[in-house]
């Protein structure tokens, strides 16, 4: 287990970055706070003490990604069950609701959590494809393709936004 001084420094350095990352993935502040705390706690329990700082960061992101993915799966199952119980058709993602005036935060919300994670790790954190593959648990070759799709989708939303703004 990491010693307290090192953990404190790591926590101070990583909390804002991890919070931003998780906040983009879950879009709910209370849930985001919980996930971030849980990520640090699991990190403390599981991370080997001899990891270098860069490895600690990847490890923490991997833990947070798994927590968010698990929570998302639970929510999807719950949502499907509730829809089934109420006899309603499953609600689709609100992609149709976008149009003019979309900003980057809303555009990100229209991506799947997996795509958001890829875009964030690549374009904000600046991780290489191999590092992203390790964090999200897929092959590096797949990251390349998945990231391309995510970027294309996000760029598409941003173009719509631009067109919308110009029309306004």
């Amino acid at each position: 287990m990491m010693d307290e001084t090192r953990f404190r420094a790591f926590y101070q350095q990583m909390y804002p970055r991890l919070w931003s990352y998780v906040n983009r993935m879950v879009s709910d502040r209370a849930q985001c706070d919980d996930h971030v705390q849980e990520s640090f706690l699991r990190f403390l329990r599981a991370a080997p003490s001899k990891l270098a700082d860069a490895e600690c960061r990847s490890y923490l992101y991997r833990i947070a990604t798994n927590i968010v993915k698990d929570a998302w799966r639970v929510r999807q199952t719950e949502k499907a069950w509730l829809d089934e119980q109420s006899g309603e058709e499953p609600r689709a993602e609100s992609e149709g609701a976008i149009g003019t005036g979309i900003d980057i935060a809303r555009a990100l919300e229209l991506l799947t959590p997996g795509q958001r994670s890829l875009v964030w790790l690549a374009y904000v954190e600046g991780y290489e494809h191999e590092e992203i593959a390790e964090i999200v648990g897929v092959k590096a070759a797949s990251v390349r393709v998945l990231l391309m799709r995510a970027r294309k989708r996000l760029a598409g939303f941003l173009s719509e936004d631009l067109r919308g703004t110009q029309h306004d």
Binding site: W19, L44, E128, L158, S159
Partner: protein
């Protein structure tokens, strides 16, 4: 929207993040539509990050203490598992010895009693022996240390 990948994309994003451009990379980025799109997405993401309101960082003390507590519990559980194995080992050995004796066709207690005190003792049937050993094992199992619950870690 561009439907392909570029091998320089990572390098271009890294250069855009650091603001340090290599001349050849810069000229590539100006002509490559994939890299231009990557730069655009990066710029949009960067503007989002810089404008984001991050709440104050909570004190890490609580997380640290919870981590310590979890670590102590894990050690305690491991110690209890080890002592549980040590506790049940004699019972397992006894059971194996009993099966071996039955397989040999000799009731073990009567032989043991004859050799130690020199008097004949009525032999015990295997069924009785099995029942006695089974009850002993159940009692040992019920009172094994790993089954006792504690409210706080003992390690």
């Amino acid at each position: 929207m561009i439907d392909q990948c570029c091998e320089y994309e990572s390098a271009v994003v890294r250069a855009a993040r650091a603001g340090a451009w290599d001349k050849s990379l810069e000229s590539h980025a100006q002509t490559c539509p994939v890299c231009a799109e990557a730069i655009r997405v990066h710029a949009a993401m960067f503007s989002l990050v810089t404008s984001e309101q991050i709440p104050p960082i909570p004190d890490p003390k609580l997380v640290w203490l919870k981590g310590q507590f979890a670590e102590r519990q894990r050690r305690s559980m491991r110690a209890m598992r080890i002592s549980g194995v040590a506790y049940s080992a004699p019972a397992v050995a006894l059971l194996l010895a009993l099966f071996w004796t039955i397989k040999q066709g000799r009731p073990l207690p009567s032989i043991a009693m004859k050799t130690s005190i020199g008097l004949p003792v009525p032999s015990v049937s295997p069924e009785v022996l099995i029942s006695v050993v089974a009850v002993t094992i159940i009692i040992l199992f019920l009172f094994a240390p790993s089954r006792r619950r504690s409210t706080s870690p003992r390690v």
